[in-house]
Subunit: 343 residues, 2 copies
DNA sequence: TTGTATGCGTTATCAT
DNA sequence: ATGATAACGCATACAA
């Protein structure tokens, strides 16, 4: 019993053949006698031979591994995306190497460095909230290294992005609130550093204006943290400060919506009768709340899957980076539930 | 501008030195003149040199990569574990390669095969619900390959497991319900194939018996799916069929607890006044529900972190597999919230 | 202080 | 039909 894995050489020694013959026999190359193939495969099996992917990578300068850099794993939406990534990668014979930035720029940078060191074939990135300069990405992009961004699209010309229709989703949500007769709709917005926050806010604005409602700046509340407590606190403060009491909230995320829900309940407002609430992302728990929370559903799995398909197609040159469509926008779907349905 | 990455040879050529000198200079070996070191590092930087981790792996037969095989990524508890894994791995200089089995045995088997091919240094496993034979694990364990199991501990002698105190958590939850004066406590149990289900059920049983309450087999309802709908349906049926109406539910997972909550509400029962409910896992949404759901909190991040530390310690021979403690059990914590607090 | 040779596991190329 | 050799990028034992 030798320690470590059996190699081609071990098989060669066992059968008094050369390593090249073993290699060829194992891959059913023509010009190897059937008898030899049979014997080689038999011995390989007995020795529990397993090809060394590292050696292969070195030789081919290809690792069949893609990297994923993501802000957080413990996040319903992102974990869904990862699932989609992993699914496609696995079915196309690629490994997935995962790194979370925890929303930190320096971890993002060191992650991409390690991954490049590890000769990954391409990388999927959703950058951190701290990231404002994209040099660490352009540098590697300029070397012709494949990167596909998802969810958060950077300000890089020619970057390849897979996003959800944040604008449209926010627009739909706001229109829905208007159509339910809510008059004074507040938007809980996200960190301004993220394009998704800006797009969602714009969808909200346009929906109001399209309906002849002028946008009141005091009705847009930025929630940089995105926590429940923050949402609850900000909405409570709003109730005390705003002259005209809001009768609806469109939050850029579900957690904030729950915060708003609690704040409303704290002062005895009935949902959806007196206040309407809509979130964004359609996290699992939306349907568990009472009343069930309306939310804009984002196709996370699909996003991961499509981004991965695109990345691998680029790696395998089935897609031409020069001529391809560089922005893929996936549709959202408004899940109308009890928290915003009066009729 | 050459395509591909600069290598040690490129630097050597540039400086008219040998590759070995470059290698040594970059690693600050003694016996290289400071001047040479300086020049080498300068050129390395200019050429954007990045060591090829694949070549290193091949040479050292070590990849500094650990594999993670997990049933599902889109799962609050598991995603928390992954986060802990990733955190420690990153801080100790290891990559994480991720594969989800989707609770399928064949994917689990093929995942471990690919990972071994990729020369990972060790693997963290939470096996699938389908897995009943553990041959695919014992085979590699017997070769001396490091595996640490987490959450779901297999029936393998000498396996190294990191688990939560399922028995104790369930026991605590049940005692809590009893102490709140609930008399007829039903247990929604999990798939019998998982040890965690059995342990939780046993905790429930023992808590009752310790308090002189005999266990009514009709009060233990198996929920193999673990979905909200399943929980809701089974509890509704229970209300119609059981002679004596249950006044409390201890569910082996939070989703089932929400199902029970809905079923109670459907027939107008007040929580916690008329019915008490406790879940297991303390998912994020527990605190968002109304009433807030009591639940047994599992230290997911800690589990991932500890399992990874143990694995890496084994890999780096800081722990001796022969003599080490093979079972690490992490404590749970009962989060008492409104759904079960009458006093 | 630096260079040469060798090998990690595999395969493509060029023999035989 | 099979074998010998070189190469992928790097580190190290041994030479000089």
């Amino acid at each position: 019993m030798k320690l470590g894995q059996a190699t081609i050489k071990d098989i060669a020694r066992e059968l008094n053949l050369s390593a090249s013959t073993i290699s060829r026999a194992l891959k059913d190359y023509p010009g190897i006698s059937d008898e030899t193939k049979r014997r080689v495969k038999e011995v390989a099996k007995n020795m529990n031979y397993r090809p060394n992917a590292i050696a292969l990578s070195l030789r081919k300068s290809r690792s069949f591994t893609i990297g994923v850099i993501i802000p957080e794993v413990v996040h319903f939406f992102f974990s869904t995306v990862i699932s989609g990534i992993e699914d496609i990668a696995q079915s196309r014979g690629y490994n997935v190497i995962l790194s979370q930035s925890n929303e930190k720029l320096d971890r993002e940078i060191s992650s991409i460095e390690t991954m490049l060191s590890n000769q990954i074939d391409g990388v999927l990135v959703s950058y951190s909230k701290e990231t404002e300069s994209f040099d660490h990405f352009t540098r590697v992009l300029d070397q012709g290294f494949p990167i596909v961004f998802f969810d958060r699209a950077p300000a890089i010309p020619n970057a390849i992005n897979v996003m959800v229709a944040d604008y449209q989703g926010a627009y739909d949500a706001t229109i829905h609130l208007i159509s339910q007769g809510y008059k004074n709709i507040v938007h809980l917005s996200g960190p301004k550093a993220l394009k998704i926050s800006i797009d969602r806010e714009q969808g909200y604005r346009d929906a109001l204006e399209k309906n002849g409602i002028s946008v009141n700046p005091a009705n847009i509340i930025e929630c940089p943290l995105g926590t429940l407590e923050e949402g609850q606190r900000l909405v409570s403060e709003l109730f005390n400060s705003l002259p005209e009491r809001p009768d609806a909230f469109f939050s850029c995320n579900d957690i904030g919506a729950v915060g708003a829900m609690k704040a409303c309940r704290d002062i005895g407002l009935k949902i959806p009768l007196e206040v309407g609430i809509v979130g964004f992302s359609d996290w699992q728990f939306c349907a568990m709340l009472d009343p069930q929370l309306s939310s804009v559903s984002q196709p996370g799995f699909m996003m991961g899957a499509r981004a991965t398909e695109i990345l691998i197609d680029i790696i395998e040159k089935k897609l031409d980076v020069e001529t391809m469509e560089r922005n893929l926008i996936l549709e959202t779907k408004l899940m109308e539930r009890d928290s915003s349905r009066r009729f």
